[in-house]
């Protein structure tokens, strides 16, 4: 497992200098309104933002929030620094792998992700860790791209994953099923583009599952 995590970290460290090009300015503009809509749900409690990357999402955050942000790649966070400093609020960013979180259990009221669980090597285990980090009743709010159940997108995304997983994310994950498998109560799944890009709202149930 440790070797896998180190390999994953090395992969994203390698990609860091080219990440903004790969993520694409056009893609960010397309999804910006949907992301703003999602991030507007940031409340006044303890917030964790996962996989900050180079900080492209920061400009869609509502101002005045205080949040923790993690990323597996030190180099990504170094590139994110100017965006973190430009944010009109406070972001405590640190390198961390979600498979081995350094926060105490039940530390957060909300966890936000943005195109994160396409890249976590063991998504269900990663989501179980997120589950543990949330207080009972805490919210998981995700902007994710997944596989599709529509032909020909399903075959295309599966085929593309053979290539993309070597250098970056998987394109064909069933993140909604993974969220359920981790014990969350999925409250809403809203499609943003086809059934590939979506917003997922889930809650850690108050009673033990």
């Amino acid at each position: 497992m440790k070797t896998n995590l180190e390999a994953n970290q090395r992969k994203w460290d390698r990609l860091a200098p080219r990440f903004d090009v790969m993520a694409g300015e056009g893609g960010e503009k397309r999804w910006r309104r949907a992301k703003q809509h999602l991030f507007a749900a940031m409340g006044g409690g303890d917030i964790l933002f996962m996989a900050l990357g180079t900080g492209q999402d920061i400009s869609a955050f509502p101002p005045g929030k205080t949040l923790h942000a993690i990323d597996v790649s030190e180099r990504m966070l170094a590139l994110a620094k100017p965006r973190i400093e430009a944010y009109r609020g406070t972001i405590h960013a640190q390198q961390m792998d979600i498979h081995q979180p350094c926060f105490a259990p039940e530390s957060f009221d909300q966890v936000f992700t943005s195109c994160t669980f396409c890249s976590v090597p063991d998504p269900v285990e990663g989501l179980r860790q997120v589950f543990n980090l949330l207080r009972p009743g805490g919210e998981l709010l995700m902007f994710e791209h997944t596989g599709s159940r529509y032909f020909p997108f399903n075959i295309m995304l599966r085929t593309m994953t053979l290539l993309t997983q070597k250098i970056g994310p998987d394109m064909d994950r069933d993140t909604v099923a993974n969220v359920k498998a981790a014990g969350f109560d999925v409250q809403a799944v809203d499609n943003v583009f086809l059934d590939v890009v979506k917003i997922i709202r889930a809650v850690r149930p108050k009673a033990p599952v």
Partner: protein
């Protein structure tokens, strides 16, 4: 103009270019008399490999999935037509362009209508629109 309108124009133009490019690749790789199945394989694989870097180079202003479908279908049909025309004249570039244009328009229209059905109602007019 709404940002979504710019994106729609970008998608149509991007797909037209992708269709023309895919048809050109199919013409280049396929000769009259080739196996139709071989032509189909070229038509499926090469545009798939081409469309992702193309979408990345263009800053992902154009939807990569639409580009990929346009290129695959155009190249497949163009490749098959060349292969099947062993006894006839070679496929003209103009023919290939017509295939590219028609297929690009059909693909964009189909993807948009499917997206309209699937998109969350509260995101319609908001997910990719300017104020």
């Amino acid at each position: 103009m709404k940002q979504s309108t710019w994106f729609l124009m970008g998608d149509v133009i991007g797909n037209l270019c992708a269709g023309a490019l895919a048809a050109a690749v199919a013409l280049w790789l396929t000769s009259p008399g080739d196996s139709m199945w071989l032509a189909m394989v070229w038509g499926m694989l090469v545009p798939m490999l081409l469309s992702m870097p193309l979408a990345l180079l263009l800053g992902r202003y154009f939807g990569a999935l639409e580009l990929m479908i346009t290129m695959m279908v155009t190249a497949m049909i163009a490749g098959m037509v060349v292969a099947m025309r062993a006894a006839m004249s070679e496929l003209l570039l103009f023919d290939a362009l017509i295939y590219g244009v028609l297929i690009a328009l059909v693909v964009v229209r189909w993807v948009l209508s499917l997206n309209d059905r699937l998109m969350a109602p509260y995101l319609r007019g908001e997910a990719d629109h300017e104020n």
